[in-house]
């Protein structure tokens, strides 16, 4: 944390010196896009290539420049006082900045992401936390947290939530784990998670179930990463069979994103593999489908061409090409066509017999 304050001061000093030498100050920020990341399976996540853009202070950029500096001042203040601010709170603080205030939270979020990238830290290190919920857990796991008021350890048994679930907190760095589960199953939809919880699937398969609820949040990604690292557990991912499930959810969980490449190092789960639903499952399990939407077709074409992760893995190229050829997508819930518990009785056990065949 002290490191962050030091970086903020260094940057501000550089700007201050430039100004008083009557020269134009500038900051340099890594380019945040898929075009500026590389992928090496041995490393396991998207890494930033060197691309940076220099942002000189001119009349046209002065507003965002002023906002960035004010945000840095806020971060320094929060960190020094050992406090936190949610992204929404940071947005409201800006309402005191006169003409430099943000009109929408998306504006302040972008500035926050820029500062993260500039210092190569994550926003928690800047003292900012998101409001978003991390994801739900059920299964053979005891999470060891601290009581916020006394600092005393609390053990949370994730088998004891009945038909409910344990919620991943926004900050997960301090958590410890106890488990004898064999693997982690990360699930896209809350509906599928509910079905598996209801029928105590975690007991049957001796696993930990995690509901991601769409694209996993940073906290969820970090939780899965720490849990799998500490307890050496394989991670299997179960999403809808469409480009969004494959690329936006699975790929982001495994290797991170282009937009936040500066933090991928901490927020990726390189050991994750893909259980399903794969394009091959459509034939193998005779699943009802829907035609691909135009955005799906476009996304497939785009990732085949530009995504370093897909370009690295022939298996994914084959799967995506097969899907493009079929012109069909499939939902997790389509398994219910063979009976509501087909997924528990047949699909998952079947699949788990040959985890080696999971898509990388």
């Amino acid at each position: 944390m002290k490191e962050t304050v030091k970086q903020i001061k260094e940057t501000a000093t550089k700007i201050y010196d430039k100004i008083n030498k009557k020269k134009k100050p500038e900051v340099s920020v890594p380019i945040r896009s898929l075009g500026n990341v590389s992928y090496d399976p041995k490393v396991g996540f998207f890494e930033l290539k060197g691309g940076r853009k220099k942002r000189a202070l001119t009349v046209n950029t002065i507003k965002s420049f002023a906002q960035t500096l004010k945000m840095m001042a806020l971060s320094k203040n929060v960190v020094e006082n050992d406090d936190i601010a949610t992204k929404r709170e940071a947005y409201y603080v800006s309402k005191n900045w006169g003409d430099a205030r943000f009109k929408e939270q998306t504006e302040s979020d972008t500035v926050m992401d820029d500062i993260e990238a500039m210092f190569m830290v994550n926003r928690e290190q800047l003292g900012f936390i998101p409001e978003e919920k991390g994801g739900d857990i059920a299964g053979n796991l005891i999470v060891i947290d601290k009581d916020p008021s006394t600092g005393k350890e609390i053990k949370i048994d994730c088998t004891k939530f009945g038909s409910g679930a344990y919620s991943i907190p926004t900050s997960v760095e301090h958590l410890k784990f106890e488990t004898n589960a064999k693997f982690i199953l990360a699930i896209e939809t809350a509906g599928m998670f509910q079905r598996l919880v209801k029928h105590n699937y975690w007991k049957k398969a001796n696993c930990i179930l995690i509901s991601m609820g769409g694209v996993p949040t940073r906290a969820c990604r970090r939780f899965i990463r720490r849990l799998s690292d500490k307890k050496n557990l394989p991670v299997y991912v179960f999403t809808d069979g469409d480009p969004y499930g494959y690329m936006s959810i699975y790929r982001t969980l495994k290797v991170g994103s282009g937009n936040a490449a500066h933090i991928n190092k901490y927020f990726c789960v390189p050991r994750a593999t893909f259980l399903g639903v794969t394009p091959g499952d459509i034939d193998d399990y005779k699943l009802p489908t829907h035609p691909l939407k135009d955005v799906d077709k476009k996304k497939i074409k785009d990732v085949l061409k530009n995504d370093p992760f897909v370009r690295e893995h022939k298996e994914w190229q084959r799967a995506l090409n097969a899907m493009q050829k079929m012109g069909q997508r499939v939902e997790q819930q389509a398994l219910a066509a063979h009976g509501l518990n087909y997924v528990i009785d047949k699909y998952l056990p079947d699949k788990l017999k040959s985890v080696k065949k999971f898509l990388p």
Binding site: Y16, I19, K63, D99
Partner: protein, 526 residues
Amino acid sequence: MQTKLSESPKEIIYAIDQAKKQREISISEFFTKNRHLLGFDNPLKSLSTTIKEGVDNALDACEESRILPDLKIEINQVSEGRFAVIIEDNGPGIVKEQIPKIFGKLLYGSKFHKLSQTRGQQGIGISAAALYGQLTTGKPIKITSKIGKGKPSHYYEIHIDTSKNEPEIIKDIEVDWNGDHGTKIELQMEGKYQKGKRSVSEYLKHTAISNPHVNLSFKEPDGTKTEYLRVTNTLPVEPREIKPHPDGIELGILIDMLKNTNSRTLQSFLCTEFSRVSSNSARSICEKANLYPNARPGRIAKQEADKLLGAMRESKFMAPPTNCLSPIGDKLLEGGLKKEIDAEFYTSVTRPASVYRGNPFMVEAAIAYGGSLNRESPVELIRFANKVPLQYQQAACAITRSVSKTAWKQYGLHQSGSNIPVGPAVIVVHIASVWVPFTSESKEAIAHYPEIIKEIKLAVQECGRQLNKFVRKQHKVKDEAKKKSYLEKYVPVIGEALKEILNLKDADEKRSIENLKIVLEKSRQK
């Protein structure tokens, strides 16, 4: 044929019957039935047409005799729906013998038979007004005219005999006139007076724009008096009369010209009666037509005239001379516009002369922009033909078409599709020609000749380019102001942030703010 006719006695009887009913139609009778063709469709328009015809004649007369025009126009309400119109000028006056014919006979005039740029063309306007007054009120037109110092001024009251198209003199006396020369007409008519769009006052205002050398005073029925003062003492260039150009001639006219010429040979006929025909080209025309250059023009029969016309059409001639045209002039048009339209920016252009169907013509355009003009409404389009404002049938006019087919977005006005552009502007277009091709006798819209449309487009585009320069400059000034306010707003915020992060002293914060302003100011001017 013979047998056929005798076999159909019924038809013969019918033809003979018809022949009894067939007789000559006098032009005045024709007018009575078709007065809308001349601009007397309704009371409102009739009043403005009358003013228009009177003003056109007065200005033509003044210009021909090189007199700076002073016009007085007065409209008085006599009773409900009835008005008295008085138009008085300081022109050359009219010779006594001519007065009854000019005002009491339709299609009598000096302008129809010659090719030169005048406002009036057919000699139908003022007598039509007189006839309209007579038809609606029964009152005769009253004319006072004086042709020079020491000459008597004559007062006439004239009635038109509609069946004969001949004037009937009701009164003919000598009266007193203050002034050396001039003409005053008074007539009563049914009418309707209105202000605003297409009104008499708008017509006079536009006339003042296109005739910056005119002094005009106008008294409305409610007593309001308006004075339009001249901005120049120079009369417009005197338009010269020209011979017809061979490119525009039609067979009927050619035959008439052949009959009436004084030339003894066909070759000399071609050289003297047409412009831009040399004796060489005259000879080659004759050759092409298989006619002797020495042939007597009067002997050329119809078929040969047809051949002659064909040969003329095949030959190439120089464009007609353009000194027959009298433009307003870009500077004066702009001056006239400045005087009557309150705007920030003015530009104008006079195009070089061009030719349609053998008739030389010239286009002028001007734009006024900004100031008090309405930003949200379509631009006001003011059309002139030979310096006369055109108020009606805007949609049918070649000027409207040319303006709406021009892409105005690139010149700084808004425009959706091919419509009249929207913005705070007035667009003025003037077309001067020895023969303006109107779509009807009421002279309200110009016909769509491609050559004319092309020239109008070029003229308004040229003005558009100047307009765009001005609009861009205006935007730049606005941008500068915006950037300046940016500095004022955000530089202190940067100072404040640096102070918070680095725990600066107030003096250091202030110094940084000043220095940053200097740095940005410097880079802004690059």
